[in-house]
């Protein structure tokens, strides 16, 4: 007969093991239930709270609704913390009881443990053991089958990545010559961004009411601050609203709208850009290489179209977060479309896209806060440079690979005026306080070196300067036009116009033209002394920069595109639907 204490241990340990086991099952179930409840009533998952927040967005002044949200929010938080407390305490209790369960169960098992009795097993059967060995082999082989099925199953979810870009046959692409580019007006403020062209027929005056000096006038369907560009007889322009980004082609001779292509970007839904009214959704001027037109809009959609209006490629470089909206125009060098996207020090960048395919060729981060100035590509001592400006750096890059050539700091303010290259120097209009000229043939950080010249006379704040190499014209937003010697920075003359200006001055041969925001155009002589040749009203506002051409001047007003010419007949056109 077993001693009493042994019986008590045997029965007691079994009872404790059973009781603690039951507790563990119940507590485990309770914790799972609590977890499930927590998911339903959790703060983040509460559909009711989300619904109320949605209502508050529509009725932000509804105090009763606010109180209701606060009350529900508090209740949900209290629920969450209560459930969390239950979960924590329950887990700790479970661990303690698990220890008790294991100890008592092991004890109970030990009390009941019997020694094995091989006498009852019978003799070993080698044939049976061989059969098991064979069965095991089949089972192991089957594991390979299972792995194979799993591999095939997994392969159905193979990652699909874009194919590597085909090597660009640079030699096969015909780039327009410098002479062709100069002959046309392919970018914002012309081929090299200087705002100058040697022409002789810019009209000094016109009259919209009588039609005097207006060769044609065509309505532009959608608004935009962008300026026209021209290649042979094609004028290109962009316009946009919240729904559409559109590129227009007009016939330069007749003003007829040849085509209007609305960009089609399937899929990717970028957040709508936040822009100021003064910037709008189509501020950047497009660019052309004579084969394609490239346009960018405020929502960072960049596209290439052929001259028949067919969209060749499109991509989105956004989302953009420029405080006023994106305004920098595109630049092009050979097969590289150059996009300056200055938004903030951590996000500003310069991107080069393959003009033929839209694929990214290189990208560099820029230590620049938001800017609105456009980049220019110039050739210095036979080598191309991409000049960019923004607070606090002017940086020159190699447009072929994005490598930095030189930089100089000291720029400040909200940077809208674009740089120009004149007299071997890069002219920077620094809204922070001066206009400065920096030799373009430096390398590395030029900050410690003094500028070739500096002046604080008539520093533009929005307009970009213009220069024919002999004279440099600066226009401030409040109407001060200054003429300087680009070599020395010496002021030749100044004149105050009682008007406001965003549009940049341009030089057409012997004449300089500026257009105010109200649409008043002033034509001056391109000379060392101020002489006004004419003043005319457009009849609508104007923020775009004019395009001087051989026989006329193209100008985008708030609603129309104008072709102004000496003694031209009136031709008003509406866009074709």
């Amino acid at each position: 007969m077993k001693p009493l204490s042994q019986t008590i241990w045997k029965q007691g340990s079994l009872a404790v093991a059973i009781a603690s086991g039951v507790f563990l099952v119940l507590m485990g179930g309770l914790l799972l239930f609590n977890q499930a409840q927590g998911k339903v009533a959790g703060l983040v998952q509460s559909t009711e709270l989300v619904r109320l927040h949605e209502q508050l967005r529509q009725r932000p002044q509804d105090e009763a609704l606010k109180q209701r949200i606060r009350k529900l929010d508090l209740q949900l938080r209290q629920n969450s913390f209560t459930e969390l407390r239950i979960s924590h305490n329950g887990t700790r209790a479970m661990i303690a009881v698990t220890v008790l369960f294991l100890a008592s169960a092991h004890l109970a098992r030990k009390q009941r443990q019997k020694l094995p009795d091989p006498l009852t097993w019978g003799p070993r059967r080698p044939a049976e053991e061989n059969r098991i060995r064979l069965k095991t082999q089949y089972a192991v082989a089957a594991m390979f089958g299972v792995a194979a099925v799993a591999a095939v199953g997994i392969s159905l979810h193979a990652v699909r990545l874009p194919s590597p870009p085909a090597p660009v046959q640079v030699a096969a692409i015909r780039f327009p010559t410098a002479a062709e580019m100069r002959e046309n007006w392919p970018a914002f403020r012309g081929f090299d961004g200087s705002g100058h062209r040697e022409v002789s027929a810019i009209p000094a005056t016109w009259n919209v009411a009588s039609g005097q000096g207006i060769r044609w006038k065509t309505e532009v369907p959608l608004p935009g601050m962008s300026s026209p560009i021209r290649w042979t007889n094609a004028l290109f322009l962009t316009g946009a609203n919240a729904q559409s980004n559109v590129v227009y082609r007009f016939d330069a001779d007749s003003g007829k709208l040849v085509w209007a292509t609305t960009l089609r970007m399937t899929g990717s839904k970028m957040p709508g850009p936040k822009v100021m009214e003064d910037t709008g959704l189509a501020a950047p001027t497009p660019v052309t290489d004579g084969q394609r037109i490239y346009a960018i809009f405020a929502n960072a959609e960049v596209a290439a179209l052929d001259f028949s209006g067919k969209q060749l490629w499109i991509r989105n470089l956004g989302p953009l977060d420029n405080p006023y909206g994106h305004a920098a125009s595109l630049a092009i060098y050979q097969d590289r479309l150059l996009v300056q996207l200055d938004q903030g020090e951590a996000t500003s960048k310069l991107v080069a896209l393959n003009a033929g395919t839209g694929q990214e060729l290189w990208r560099v981060a820029r230590p620049i806060v938001g800017s609105w100035a456009s980049p220019i590509v110039v050739e210095v001592e036979g080598k191309p440079q991409l000049i960019t400006c923004g607070e606090p750096w002017v940086i020159s890059y190699n447009p072929l690979d994005g490598s930095e050539l030189w930089r100089a700091n000291g720029l400040g303010g909200e940077f809208a005026p674009s740089p120009i290259y004149a007299g071997g120097k890069i002219i920077i209009c620094n809204p922070g306080g001066d206009v400065r000229a920096i030799p373009a043939n430096g390398s590395g950080d030029l900050s410690p070196k003094p500028a070739a010249w500096k002046t604080d006379a008539g520093v533009p704040d929005v307009s970009s300067p213009a220069s024919d190499g002999r004279r440099l014209y600066l226009l401030t937003g409040d109407g001060q036009l200054s003429c300087l010697d680009p070599g020395s920075g010496q002021v030749k003359w100044k004149h105050e116009f009682k008007d406001d200006f965003y549009s940049s001055p341009v030089i057409g041969g012997s004449r300089v033209i500026i257009v105010s925001r109200k649409g008043v155009a002033y034509v001056m002589e391109n000379a060392d002394a101020f002489r006004e040749l004419g003043k005319s009203e457009l009849g609508e506002d104007c923020n775009a920069t004019p395009v001087p051409d051989r026989q006329c001047l193209y100008l985008r007003g708030g609603k129309h595109l104008f072709c102004l010419a000496e003694s031209a007949p009136v031709a008003v056109k509406s866009p074709e639907k």
Binding site: P118, A147, M270, D321
Partner: protein
């Protein structure tokens, strides 16, 4: 020393209640000497368990160290640092020269293997908190049929291959991600992983150490090292009397029965099977390479860069209509999509190559396993399977010689079956 963490967003102002937001702090960096202490404790515990198993033949000593390991390496160190996971650090360091491995991780990865090389899997016996925890919950072991036991053990080899693939390609540490017991040691984790861990423990009440036997990738390496160990677990302290008392004593199916009747030369049928398996071996390896190549393209999707590139590709092609947090963040940042695609393509290629190697590994392992099953070795004693024996010391007391050595009553035993 706690440091103030910069606020990313302006905090709300509790103007009505006047609640003052506490300053967020980040935990102090763990002192280096504590890491060295971990390594020291590991080595001491390994030495102690090796002595307890091989010299003292003490099951109770092993259990005591096991409880200590669960408390120290498990609940105190929260399952990290861990020898099992260290495989990944070592793999990544092997394939990425820029990746450094701390000395402590190196110690946790290599010292148990070194011990296994000399003393068998004493790490598994009681030093590994995962193994020790499962050992503690094992109450009523049931015998897993040999065919199931051997085939399920293949999973650990496959898991090892995949873990190396992911670690070597920078795709993540899947052993840590899917560690079933760390959430238990930390008392926190995803519900899925907690349930996985609890389920394994519940199964472990009846099936001895399911994770160690069927899943543990480190156990595979320890098994390889232990199979050539100098000193090993011997069931009997004297000579085996073929009493068969130990036959059912191992909860982990790691006792090889004696095979004194095994023919010196295998029969013709066995020879033919052996030849067939030898021919099959390259087929399995080749098949593994092919299947690995198939799966590699999908496995690459686990890498965050490949995943992001695929997502951006879908967005760019218009196949999806919205953006994810990752793709929106990428677009907002200063990153080149072309560079990302190029990087993703390179990673994709690495995955495919690594998965092919993994497939070859799986084919090789299964092929060798089939070969080893086809060969019957002559064995005079009941012996612990060197590769699979977890050195738990359970089998010692089933041996009447051991009971005799300890002065305990010896049960009646059958006469040796083979004379």
């Amino acid at each position: 020393m706690a440091q103030v963490v910069a606020q990313r967003f302006p905090p709300p102002q509790f103007t009505e209640t006047g609640h003052v937001l506490p300053l967020p702090t980040e935990p102090a960096v763990r002192a280096l000497w504590l890491d060295y202490l971990d390594a020291g404790v590991l080595i001491a515990a390994l030495a102690l368990v090796s002595w307890l198993v091989l010299r003292r033949r003490s099951r109770s000593g092993v259990v005591a160290v096991g409880i200590f390991s669960v408390l120290y390496f498990g609940f105190w160190r929260k399952g990290c640092i861990c020898s099992i996971g260290s495989i990944q650090n070592l793999s990544q360091a092997l394939f990425d020269s820029s990746f450094g491995v701390p000395l402590t991780v190196l110690a946790f990865g290599l010292v148990p293997l070194l011990f296994a090389l000399f003393f068998g899997r004493t790490f598994c016996a009681a030093v590994c908190p995962h193994g020790a925890l499962q050992d503690l919950v094992l109450l009523k072991p049931v015998k897993v049929p040999a065919w199931l036991d051997h085939s399920l053990r293949m999973l650990a080899w496959i898991y090892l291959g995949l873990a190396v693939v992911f670690a070597a390609t920078g795709g993540g540490y899947i052993i840590c991600q899917y560690d079933p017991f760390v959430p238990i040691f930390r008392l926190s984790g995803s519900l899925t992983m907690v349930l996985f861990g609890v389920s394994l423990l519940a199964v472990g009440i009846f099936v001895g150490r399911p994770y160690c036997r069927f899943l543990c990738p480190y156990g595979v390496l320890l098994g390889l090292a232990a199979s050539v160990s100098k000193w090993r677990v011997r069931i009997t302290p004297d000579t085996c009397t073929q009493c068969r008392l130990c036959e059912e004593s191992c909860a982990f199916g790691a006792i090889n029965k004696s095979a004194v009747d095994a023919p010196a030369r295998p029969p013709a049928a066995d020879k033919r099977r052996l030849m067939l398996l030898l021919v099959l071996l390259p087929v399995l390896i080749g098949g593994g390479i092919g299947l690995g190549g198939l799966a590699g393209g999908a496995l690459a999707g686990k890498h965050r860069i490949v995943n992001l590139a695929e997502r951006l590709q879908l967005e760019e092609s218009g196949a999806v209509q919205d953006t994810t947090d990752a793709s929106a963040a990428f677009r907002a940042g200063n990153h080149s999509i072309a560079t990302l695609y190029a990087e993703a393509r390179a990673l994709h290629h690495r995955y495919v190559v690594a998965a092919r190697w993994c497939g070859a590994w799986i084919g090789l392992v299964i092929g060798f396993k089939l070969l080893s099953l086809a060969i019957v070795r002559r064995r005079t004693d009941y012996e612990a399977d060197q590769a699979h024996c977890l050195s738990c010391a359970r089998c010692y007391r089933s041996c009447p010689q051991e009971l005799q050595r300890l002065g305990l009553p010896v049960p009646e035993t059958p006469k040796p079956a083979n004379g």
